[in-house]
């Protein structure tokens, strides 16, 4: 059975770029899938399951990367990786504790 190759652009929204922690999160997520998952920036191609390879992208905040997924669970992998890239990789400072709503007058 032929599998479809999914290609999509993703943008690095992590405020400090794709440093080790975001790379780790991407690799950990990618490793859950059987599909071959690549992230590319210009001529650099990285295996998304390797933190080391992801680090070689050196992608700062705002970089557009080419996501290419090929394999039996490609559709799910694309979906979950896109969601991760849409987030800020949990890098935002924790939100201030919300004050209890004022009692109605």
């Amino acid at each position: 059975m032929e599998t479809q190759v999914y290609r999509r652009k993703v943008v690095v929204k992590a405020p400090q770029g794709l440093h080790i922690r975001p790379c780790t999160l991407v690799a950990q997520l990618a490793m859950k899938y059987q599909s071959r998952i690549r992230l590319g920036k210009e001529r650099i191609q990285a295996d998304a399951k390797s933190i080391l390879e992801l680090m070689t992208l050196g992608a700062p905040h705002g970089t557009e990367l080419d996501l290419e997924v090929d394999g039996p669970d490609a559709a799910e992998a694309v979906q979950s990786l896109t969601v991760l890239f849409e987030s800020d990789f949990g890098m935002s400072p924790p939100a201030p504790q919300s004050k209890p709503a004022a009692a109605p007058a």
Partner: protein, 156 residues
């Protein structure tokens, strides 16, 4: 950016004596202090910050490599050191394997780009199996430095 531009030659630790992550980090920061790249009064603060960062997730990135790091206001440019652990150090790496090659980075908080370029540079060389093999075989500071120079010149 080249390795020799931010790896402090005098701070290289060719034979790291450490069995734990904390010992390894302490020893590497002490080496940066001895080389004059971080001040004695900042040493403990830098060690604590690096250990705190490790709590968020190990920087043992697999393939026997760890890249402990922190941002710290006491440095005005990216400084780093390399250590080689002959017997390996348990770093709670993602692949569960001990680490043999450690790059420790301290960068100014206001320059995330520099940190990212440093990581990019280190990871590009660490991808090269020959570089890792020769690095692990290096027994002296001079040998490590020579290898870093060769890597900078793409001679490996």
């Amino acid at each position: 950016m080249k390795l020799c531009e931010f790896v402090v030659a005098d701070a290289i630790v060719p034979d790291l004596q450490a069995t734990t992550k904390e010992q390894a980090i302490r020893s590497m920061v002490a080496s940066l202090r001895a080389a004059g790249s971080v001040k004695a009064e900042d040493e403990e603060g830098i060690v604590s910050a690096i250990l705190k960062r490790e709590e968020l997730g190990s920087t043992g990135i697999g393939n026997g490599v760890a890249v402990p790091h922190t941002k710290h206001a006491s440095v005005d440019k990216l400084v780093a050191t390399v250590a080689l652990a002959r017997d390996g150090v348990d770093f709670s790496s993602l692949d569960g394997e001990p680490v043999y090659i450690l790059f420790l980075l301290v960068s100014p908080p206001d320059r995330p780009g520099e940190h990212l370029r440093g990581l990019e540079n280190i990871s590009r060389h660490l991808r090269n199996q020959s570089f890792c093999k020769f690095l692990r075989q290096s027994k002296t500071k001079e040998a490590v430095l020579e290898l870093l120079r060769e890597a900078d010149n793409n001679e490996i």
